[in-house]
């Protein structure tokens, strides 16, 4: 378990501003943010490599302020793996145990166990410079896990890899976390990795925490236009909200005006899940609240489901529909289609002044 409270630190061009974060035991927390937002700095500060200017880091309830990195129970995996090139794979994995004066027999057992767990036994006798990127990261994971850390810190371990090894290591990390249950802080700029691995997501920008929440929640209900854009939320429309009838708000976007159930007034943005957008062949009827007529711009067939991009005025709407419905639409011809969604499907968030 780890608690970070009001953490601040600056280092070079990076900075952290008043970060408050908590990770429960066995939790997989992904810290998501663009490059240069201070994610690595956050991890290194948690690891104790940089001292915090203000705020506290507690690991397993203990304040880490005066605990040097080598006394913290932390496993750290760097983006470029940072294996010790002067040591072979097995020596790399047992390094932490050696520093803890674990006897040689136990060390060998533990190394063997981890090698089997990560399926890298065939690498043990090799030098680290001859390994592929994926193999290096697995060895780095094994090295970090060998000391049975309270917290595992992963600094973009997947980003230097090609897609295939990325996918396989992703599965590997998931399996490891299920088996070992080590509390993990994983920083990345890739929302797909966050979607696949995270129990919870902390969104960070320029050293400040933007949003923290369950994975599904962050993706479905981003709290700002930055969050929405960064997690690639579908159907982002920007507009101005004003009060309307029945406790709804009317939001005027570029090309359309829609109703949503929300309390927010003023400059806002919305996101609408594509599966909540219903398409119809007839022209939109006026008595429905959010019903629009648009031109089909693009159809993407994804096997079983199809994604249709519509142009409504100056705005765009994306909808996913079952394959069967797609053929029906295509058969009837005509590029004018109506799109409709409930006011409840619309998620409204406040727009930042800066953006």
């Amino acid at each position: 378990m780890i608690q970070i409270q009001h953490l601040s630190r600056a280092w070079g061009s990076f900075s952290l501003k008043d970060i408050c974060l908590c990770a429960q035991p066995r939790e997989y927390l992904v810290i998501l943010g663009p490059t240069g937002c201070g994610k690595t700095l956050l991890l290194e500060t948690v690891a104790g490599i940089h001292r915090a200017y203000a705020g506290t880091v507690r690991i397993a309830g203990e304040d880490m302020a005066n605990v040097p990195p080598y006394r913290r129970s932390i496993g750290f995996v760097y983006q470029k793996s940072m294996l010790f090139p002067n040591l072979a794979v097995a020596q790399n994995i047992e390094y932490g145990l050696k520093m803890r004066r674990v006897p040689a027999r136990e060390r060998r057992e533990r190394v063997g166990l981890l090698a089997d767990l990560l399926r890298i036994r065939y690498l043990l006798g090799r030098g680290v410079t001859s390994l592929s990127g994926g193999e290096m990261q697995k060895v780095a994971m094994a090295r970090a896990l060998a000391i049975k850390p309270d917290i595992l810190l992963l600094d973009e371990p997947l980003s230097p890899l090609d897609q295939a090894s990325k996918d396989s290591l992703l599965e590997e990390i998931r399996r490891l976390h299920d088996q070992l249950g080590t509390t993990t802080l994983h920083v990345t700029h890739d929302h797909n990795i966050a979607r696949h691995l995270a129990d919870r997501i902390a969104l960070i920008r320029d050293g400040s925490l933007m949003q923290v929440g369950e994975t599904a929640e962050v993706f479905r209900y981003p709290s700002s236009d930055f969050a929405a854009g960064f997690v690639r939320a579908p159907n982002i429309l920007l507009g101005h909200a004003a009060r309307a009838e029945n406790g709804l708000v009317r939001i005027d976007c570029d090309g359309l005006s829609l109703r949503a159930r929300s309390e927010l007034i003023g400059p806002v943005g919305v996101t609408i899940p594509p599966e909540e957008v219903h398409l119809g062949l007839t022209a939109a009827s006026a008595d429905h609240l959010n019903a629009f007529t648009g031109d089909v711009e693009r159809v993407e067939n994804q096997g079983g489901v199809a994604t249709i991009a519509l142009r409504v005025g100056h705005d765009h709407l994306v909808a996913t529909i079952p394959q069967t419905k797609l053929t029906e639409i295509m058969k009837r011809g005509g590029s004018k289609i109506s799109a409709e969604f409930a006011p409840e499907a619309v998620h409204v968030f406040r727009r930042e002044a800066a953006a």
Partner: protein, 417 residues
């Protein structure tokens, strides 16, 4: 060979005999005549048999090569028997790629550069090897120009050394090595340089680490100060040290009274001067080496439970060891070659460079040369060490030794359980 060719060869052989008998009568004795004739006959045979007559260019080159040898040895050097020898070699080696080139370099350097023939041959062969390599790889004009210009500089440093080496006979060397004062001087040089290098390593490696890892105020100035000893003229170093530690100064008297150490005219003075002049080489070498070690490797070691000192000793130092060792060799070589400041601070006991200078001024060049060669030979081990280091490192050997325990066979370990 068919019958026509045999007849043709016979006719040419007889014609050759006639020409040679007519032109060389009186110039060569009959045995010499016979040798030359036989080698010419061999060249003729090889020319007809192995150089294809259809390839006109090839044949022309063959004849051109023969004529060159003829001019070199017969006309310029006036050595018909050497010509006979070279003609046989030439004819036999004509089709071995590259060999003819070395043969001609050999021929040229011995026929034309008589007193410097060996160094010239060695250098020219080296040059030829490089050019051949460049041509075979189609390296292009830029590479060729750079190579030629670079080689000129290279030759300018190597040629005098080679000449000095070849001019010195083995007897001279053994004579000078058996002399007591030479032995003493070389021993003193090696010992004092080693002490100096050890001191520099002990103090310079931490300094280099600090310079690389920490950004502190005044770091730029410190960085410049490191190079100062290289910039200062050597006698000035001696003067400065003597001013500081000489027998009449308070520091010198303090050292003498309390430690019994005399700086001027002693091993300690020699070491002081050597440390002064050779420390930049080690510090620079170590700094480059530490720069190449990623700081995050140390962080990783620390998160794994290594105290920063332990991380430095187990990760950083082994990774930088190659560069530090390289710096050691340079420092050591610089300490060995130190002369200027030693003439001021400790002319006696004389280190080898001082001794060489001493012998030169008293007895002249031919007496100083053997000792110089001896010193070069002593320094050669440093050169060998530099070469060996490229492929071999102590850290690598230790790793291999430590891995004996690990069975890397996937089937042999019990499962996770």
């Amino acid at each position: 060979m068919n019958r026509r060719e045999v007849i043709k060869f016979g006719a040419l052989a007889i014609a050759l005999l006639a020409v040679q008998a007519l032109t060389l009568r009186g110039i060569l004795r009959p045995v010499g005549q016979l040798c030359l004739y036989l080698s010419n006959l061999f060249a003729l045979f090889m020319g007809m048999y192995s150089v294809r007559p259809s390839k006109r260019m090839d044949l022309n080159f063959y004849v051109l090569g023969y004529l060159t040898l003829f001019v070199l040895f017969f006309i310029l050097a006036r050595q018909p028997l050497l010509l006979a020898l070279f003609v046989i070699l030439y004819a036999a080696l004509y089709h071995v790629p590259g060999a003819v080139g070395y043969l001609f370099i050999f021929a040229f350097s011995f026929a034309l550069f008589a007193p410097f023939s060996l160094p010239v041959f060695l250098l020219a062969s080296l040059f030829y090897t490089g050019i051949r390599w460049l041509v075979l790889r189609r390296a292009g004009l830029l590479a060729a120009v750079c190579y030629v210009l670079g080689f000129l500089l290279f030759a300018a440093t190597l040629l005098p050394m080679l000449q000095m080496g070849t001019m010195t006979s083995f007897q001279d060397l053994t004579k000078s090595i058996s002399a007591d004062y030479v032995q003493n001087a070389i021993r003193l040089t090696v010992v004092s340089s080693s002490i100096s290098t050890a001191v520099i390593v002990l103090l310079g490696v931490p300094l280099a680490y600090v310079m690389v890892r920490w950004r502190f105020r005044g770091r730029g100035i410190a960085d410049t100060l490191i190079d100062i000893p290289i910039l200062i003229p050597q006698p000035v170093v001696g003067i400065a040290l003597l001013t500081m530690l000489g027998p009449k100064t308070s520091a010198g008297q303090f050292l003498y009274n309390y430690f019994g150490v005399e700086i001027a005219g002693s091993v300690w003075g020699i070491c002081a001067a050597q440390i002064f002049v050779s420390c930049p080489f080690l510090i620079r070498g170590a700094m480059t080496a530490f720069q190449a070690v990623d700081e995050r490797l140390e962080y990783a070691a620390q998160t794994l439970g290594a105290h920063p000192i332990k991380a430095f000793l187990t990760i950083t130092l082994p990774l930088a060891s190659k560069g530090i060792f390289y710096g050691c060799i340079l420092s050591w070589a610089r300490a060995v070659s130190e002369f200027g400041s030693l003439t001021v601070i400790a002319y006696k006991p004389a280190t080898a460079p001082v001794l060489i200078h001493d012998i030169f001024t008293q007895y002249g060049l031919s007496e100083a040369r053997p000792v110089s060669v001896l010193l070069v030979v002593v320094c050669l081990w440093a050169f060998v060490a530099l070469r060996v280091m490229r492929t071999w490192s102590p850290a690598g050997l230790l790793t291999r030794a430590a891995l004996r325990h690990y069975d890397t066979n996937p089937a042999s370990e019990p499962s996770l359980g």
